[in-house]
């Protein structure tokens, strides 16, 4: 039998306060089953034990429930992003925290909540793809919600921004690979969300600019040499519109880091595509200076 008690932090459960012996017995049984690794039996007993109005007002049965469900999650649903065991474990631990007025187990409870929260983050990362991104976002929201509530050093904004940038990059990759307009729009929407949190981030501005720039290049590249001049002018204007969209974001990236050679190269390319040779020369000089 698996030895569950690996490193022991002792929680003294003083159950003698319960007036109902039957309920106390159920909680006690649940704890014993839990310690013996008999999680299904532990679950059945703790669920029953928590039917009593007196039991539900004590934090300890809730804590036991949280641990039991957490272990069930780890054992049975670790790869299930919609795990109900995890959901229930979190709700139980939250309830325990709320009832633990003396903060006897506050630290441990929070640690376990964070553990389960971090699993949402892992799942969110795992599902960052073109078909599961909505699920990923929902999971990420849960992660943010738990960490925001229980980790004072946690910055929801920073984490959200990084998450949105990563999704933006992911969809930019998909767009480059498939030329799908939908992928471009998704990349655009995630970059905009990242910029809403912090409009002065170099990487977001640079990549957002690049998204538009590459779209402009793709528009031109997809034209055939046989195209009518009227159509060529329509296509050219569409590309110019994209290059103009790219310009302010690349300039912002440049203002954040004027020494970033990729950004300078980006500006040079944008202005070349806009046929603005004066600015091409300006950024070309900067580029060559940094290359030295």
């Amino acid at each position: 039998m698996r030895k569950y008690i690996i490193h022991i932090t002792v929680l003294l459960l003083s159950l003698s306060a319960y007036t109902s012996f039957a309920q106390m017995e159920l909680v006690e049984k649940a704890l014993n089953f839990y310690n013996n690794g008999q999680l299904d039996s532990a679950k059945a007993n703790i669920d029953k034990g928590l039917n009593d109005p007196e039991t539900v007002s004590d934090y300890q049965p809730w804590l036991i429930k949280g641990y039991v469900y957490k272990e069930l999650y780890k054992k049975k649903e670790l790869n299930d992003p919609s795990s109900q065991y995890r959901e229930i474990a979190i709700q139980a631990l939250k309830k325990a925290l709320e009832l633990d007025k003396a903060k006897e187990q506050e630290s441990n409870t929070i640690q376990n909540l964070k553990f389960l929260g971090s699993k949402y983050n892992n799942d969110a990362i795992k599902f960052m793809d073109s078909t599961n991104y909505e699920l990923s976002e929902a999971l990420f929201d849960k992660y943010i919600s738990i960490y925001s509530a229980y980790d004072p050093s946690f910055s929801a904004d920073t984490n959200r921004m990084q998450y949105y940038i990563t999704l933006g990059l992911r969809f930019q990759d998909y767009f480059e690979a498939t030329n799908s307009e939908n992928m471009r729009k998704l990349a655009e929407s995630y970059y905009l969300r990242a910029l809403k949190i912090n409009p002065n981030t170099k990487i977001t501005n640079k990549n957002f600019a690049l998204l538009y720039y590459n779209e402009g290049v793709n528009i031109i590249n997809s034209t055939d040499f046989d195209i009518d001049l009227e159509k060529l002018y329509v296509v050219q204007q569409q590309a110019v519109d994209m290059f103009k969209k790219a310009e302010p974001y690349m300039l912002k990236a440049y203002s954040v880091d004027p020494k970033d050679i990729d950004v300078i190269e980006g500006l040079r390319n944008i202005y070349q595509s806009l046929n603005d040779m004066e600015k091409v020369d300006f950024y070309n000089k900067k580029y060559n200076e940094l290359k030295k």
């Binding site: 569950y4 008690i5 690996i6 490193h7 932090t9 002792v10 929680l11 003294l12 459960l13 003083s14 159950l15 704890l31 839990y34 310690n35 641990y67 780890k74 441990n108 376990n112 553990f115 971090s118 983050n121 892992n122 990362i125 940038i165 990563t166 990059l169 930019q172 480059e176 990487i203 640079k206 990549n207 690049l210 720039y213 590459n214 290049v217 793709n218 031109i220 590249n221 034209t223 040499f225 046989d226 195209i227 001049l229 060529l232 002018y233 050219q236 204007q237 590309a239 110019v240 290059f243 103009k244 990729d262 190269e265 980006g266 390319n269 070349q272 595509s273 806009l274 046929n275 603005d276």
Partner: protein, 191 residues
């Protein structure tokens, strides 16, 4: 009555360590995943090359028995040469194969069907006009004002777009005919 309660720290500690490593890689990767995939293509060159090819449908060259249609670039442009190479590999003018040549100065070789004088070689325009007068060479330039001084077609930038001016007199002097259908597409037509 009291009970002991085991908390699975070792397991969680392992998971946390794993998580920290994972997240570190994940978040550090923001510096690494910086999307540096620039499309290197030179879009103005693609547009100019496309114009040169489309011009073959609007201009009429004197009959000749050559099997090739020759485009000469006076000046240096890697982007343009790349685009014209793609053009010559995939397109023909009528039944003629397109050949592309890049030169740094006007040579004594046969007159090409199209001579594109790049902006840094604009000073060669007068010589080119004199050299190829009546020989069926369409002279194309890309510097403001050159349509007035001898080039038949001059690329200009209008609100960030590449457009062209047409000088019908220069077309005639070069020994070429031009379809009136191209006139509405030019930003300026000089008689």
């Amino acid at each position: 009555m009291s009970f002991t309660f085991g908390i699975h720290f070792a397991c969680d500690r392992f998971m946390r360590k794993f998580l920290i490593i994972f997240l570190s890689i994940f978040f550090l990767s923001f510096d690494l995943v910086d999307y540096s995939f620039y499309q290197k293509d030179d879009t103005p060159s693609k547009i100019k090359a496309t114009h040169l090819y489309v011009f073959t449908k609007y201009f009429e060259w004197p009959e000749n028995s050559a099997s090739t249609f020759n485009i000469t670039i006076l000046g240096e442009s890697t982007g343009l040469m790349n685009e014209l190479s793609k053009l010559s590999a995939t397109k023909t003018v009528g039944s003629k194969k397109i050949t592309i040549r890049q030169v740094s100065s006007l040579s004594n070789e046969d007159a090409p069907e199209i001579l594109f004088i790049l902006s840094d070689k604009s000073h060669s325009l007068a010589d080119a006009v004199a050299k190829y007068k009546g020989k069926g060479t369409l002279i194309v330039t890309e510097k403001q004002g050159l349509a007035k001084v001898g080039s038949a077609v001059n690329f200009v930038i209008v609100e960030n777009n590449i457009k062209f001016e047409l000088n019908k007199t220069s077309v005639g002097k070069a020994g070429l005919k031009v379809s009136s259908k191209i006139e509405p597409l030019a930003v300026k037509v000089l008689e």
